[in-house]
């Protein structure tokens, strides 16, 4: 392996092999189970939108009704399209309304009826997949017509709670230099077992992820991209209990990146581990097809655990995210593995340690669009010191060739950024880029830096061996990641997990084959 750290290629290969061994039982679990959200995603892919008078999405109504009458062991598609064919409903919306009124009756079709239902469902889903394919082509066309921004891509966040306030803020941020706009979700959406409908104007510390909000923001950023001659990417969150559905909506509405970690919901939102892994595999298959880059959330581990002590847990999680991502069909250029600049600045040589960690990640995942997160934990309210720390973060990001730079705010932890905070933060990035953007080329790490990188890799190997021994679910239950203990039968959403029967049919998975 080339690179500045002289990593031992056999150790790197062993680390990948151990991650695969740890992940394979989880993959088998995902192949043999489905979830209510995966089944709802099938209906969304086939074009079922909207909600009943109570605001409950039609996809929830239909999936719940099918589950109650015939179960979901064979998937929602066979019973749903059997009812469509049998009753001659013109569209899924009619089926949903009839279900809501208690008129639609479901059964598990057999023989020729099953073939009819299967064909009808597959055709409906293929139309949705064609929309995703067209959106992917539209993205390529937009990028060709405008220009690909230079790297690292500058990532900024908006989060007003009101999509109609978010839009001008996002457009202003893009004009100020942002290449990627992330709309933070309303807190708690991850624990909702349905996706809200329509344009939303109220949220808690963020804006709800809905199909209409996705559409509105993407349309606005398309306009700004043309104005700026630079394609501005849109990011949201495929996480929480509705991960598969949100991934589907993201593909249909041409989002460009999605936060989609294999363990974040488990550790930080107490969502059931089994549910999470099953949903995750489906959502990543959708992202793969849609040409969406995923962003993983390893930075979060360092906000609860010490960034030096836990550095190797970041590496282990990245290797697991890589294994699960590839297994689900993602290409290397779609693996936006995350990490962060969170070492206590009072630690001697803290910047050298940050360099070692960032360079290690860069060399372990050479083709991946790494997402580098700024300091949050040691932003103390001293905005002047915070501005300096952010400059060092930017410097480390440029020196180690990170791909996506989330812009740090000097007022982190005080308030949602002021207009001036964002402007000053971008001035910081521009200064470091213009002054030292090429510094990586003339940077040769000292023995202290390479030694630290080797140490972290060795610790990661040690942890991977332990996980191999006890199993990933047990390791999560023991509090290996983020110091939080999450047993496989705990957390939210386990009741939405269903074991697949022999005749299980999922037209989305068929279409992706």
């Amino acid at each position: 392996m080339s690179g500045k750290l002289n990593l031992d290629p056999s150790k790197v290969a062993l680390a990948r092999e151990l991650a695969r061994t740890a992940g394979e039982p989880i993959t088998r679990l995902a192949q043999t189970h489905t979830t209510v959200s995966i089944e709802r995603a099938v209906l969304r892919m086939a074009g079922l939108d909207g909600a009943d008078a109570d605001g409950m999405p039609w996809v929830n109504r239909v999936v719940d009704a099918v589950r109650e009458s015939v179960g979901l062991e064979h998937g929602v598609a066979l019973p749903a399209w059997d009812a469509m064919v049998r009753c001659g409903y013109p569209d899924l919306r009619t089926l949903a309304e009839q279900t809501g009124q208690g008129h639609a009756k479901f059964r598990l079709p057999a023989g020729a009826d099953a073939e009819l239902a299967r064909g009808a469902g597959d055709r409906a889903v293929e139309r949705g997949v064609a929309v995703i394919d067209a959106q992917r082509q539209a993205r390529s066309r937009m990028i060709a017509e405008t220009a690909e921004p230079r790297t690292p891509l500058i990532y900024l966040i908006v989060a007003t709670g009101d999509i109609y306030e978010d839009i001008p803020q996002a457009q202003a941020a893009a004009r100020e230099g942002a290449d990627i706009i992330a709309v933070i979700r309303s807190t708690g959406q991850s624990l909702l077992d349905y996706v809200p409908e329509g344009a939303t104007r109220e949220g808690y510390a963020g804006t709800y992820a809905t199909r209409e909000n996705f559409r509105l923001m993407r349309a606005a950023l398309d306009e700004t991209s043309r104005e700026l001659g630079r394609y501005v990417r849109l990011t949201n969150y495929a996480s929480g209990l509705c991960m598969p559905e949100i991934a589907t909506l993201a593909g249909l509405e041409r989002l460009d990146m999605m936060l989609n970690d294999c363990m974040y919901g488990i550790i930080f939102r107490d969502i059931n581990p089994v549910r999470t892994f099953i949903d995750q595999r489906f959502s990543r298959a959708v992202h793969a097809r849609a040409g969406i880059v995923i962003n993983t959330g390893e930075d979060n581990y360092l906000t609860t655990a010490d960034a030096v002590d836990a550095a190797h847990t970041v590496i282990v999680s990245q290797l697991l995210n890589e294994y699960f991502g590839r297994e689900a069909g993602l290409a290397t250029w779609q693996l936006g593995l995350g990490h962060a600049f969170e070492i206590n600045p009072a630690v001697p040589d803290s910047f050298l340690l940050e360099l070692a960690h960032a360079q290690l990640v860069r060399e372990l995942f050479p083709g991946a669009p790494l997402k580098y997160m700024p300091p949050t934990k040691h932003m103390t309210g001293n905005v002047f010191a915070g501005y300096l720390l952010d400059a060092f973060f930017n410097l480390c990001g440029f020196m180690t060739d990170q791909s996506i730079l989330l812009v740090g705010m000097m007022t982190e932890g005080i308030h949602t950024p002021f207009l001036s905070d964002r402007d000053l933060a971008l001035e910081n990035v521009r200064y470091v880029r213009d002054a030292a953007g090429q510094l990586g080329l003339s940077f040769q790490p000292s023995a202290a830096v390479t030694g630290r990188a080797h140490q972290v890799l060795d610790e990661a190997l040690g942890l991977l061996r332990r996980i191999e021994g006890e199993g990933l679910l047990n390791a999560i239950a023991d509090g290996t990641f983020g110091v939080t203990k999450r047993p496989p039968d705990g957390g939210r959403g386990l009741d939405g997990v269903i074991e697949r029967a022999a005749g299980y049919h999922n037209p989305v998975e068929e279409a992706f084959r």
């Binding site: 708690g188 107490d270 609860t304 001036s420």
Partner: protein, 249 residues
């Protein structure tokens, strides 16, 4: 040496009253004419804030419609130290060993703490920082204390569930963390907790924490103690030991 009761801000000379402020006004400053008007507007605001004389040292257009300023000036206001009031800490800070000792001698059993975030708040970072072994700010969390049993219910717990679980666990203390403050959700949620436990037969200590709480508002919210931004697990543990064992133990 006696401290003067009346003081002014200190720049580099006693009594010079010099301060620095920064702010943004929704006025343009790209064109030279606009910039002069913008700086005049900034000086006007500085004057009304009590800065006299004031000097705009930095003017920066933020897009076409906004301008950011950094202003230095001399404030005319006086600070009267005799009029300053602070809420003194009513408990002493203890080491984990001292906390364990006090709990053991006062209760003869483990102290039970139930923690959660309530309402729509999904941010477990605060409650986890206080409860998890890993802790926060270099201090281990309450799980680390031998004489404390921690039941962490996690995020978005409904208040009635919090009450029933707390009674079932025979909690000595209930810790509620609230991060989200939109429309004062943290205050209404805290009040709801205070009210819900009001009728409980064996009311545990009710402790609320979060970055935007006013630590002096406990009585108003119907809880026993409020911890604000920057609270460490050691402070919470020390308070618990004080509250169950008394300061004389």
């Amino acid at each position: 040496m006696t401290v003067e009761s009346i003081v002014r801000p200190y720049g580099d000379t006693t009594g010079d009253g010099r301060v620095q402020v920064s702010f943004t006004l929704p006025v343009p400053s790209v064109a030279a004419d606009d910039r002069a008007i913008a700086e005049g507007a900034a000086l006007q605001l500085a004057g009304k804030m009590g800065l006299d004389p004031a000097m705009v040292v930095h003017t920066k257009a933020v897009g076409p419609d906004f301008t950011f300023f950094i202003v230095y000036g001399r404030v005319s206001h006086l600070v009267d130290l005799s009029q300053v009031t602070v809420t003194p800490r009513e408990y002493e800070l203890l080491s984990p060993a001292e906390v364990n000792l006090r709990i053991r001698s006062a209760l003869g059993r483990k102290l039970v703490v139930v923690g959660a975030t309530v309402g729509t708040d999904a941010h477990t970072v605060g409650i986890d920082a206080i409860l998890n072994v890993k802790g926060h700010a270099g201090e281990k969390g309450l799980e680390y204390y031998r004489e404390i049993r921690v039941v962490n219910l996690g995020a978005q717990v409904a208040v009635p569930d919090l009450v029933s679980r707390s009674l079932a666990e025979q909690a000595d203390a209930v810790l509620v963390s609230q991060v989200v403050t939109q429309r004062d959700a943290h205050l209404s949620n805290a009040r709801e907790v205070g009210t819900a436990f009001g009728d409980a037969p064996r009311r545990p200590l009710l402790i609320v924490g979060g970055p935007r709480f006013d630590p002096s508002a406990a009585a108003e919210l119907g809880v026993d103690k409020i911890f604000g931004k920057g609270t460490t697990p050691g402070e919470v543990a020390s308070y618990l030991a004080h509250a169950v064992a008394g300061s004389a133990a």
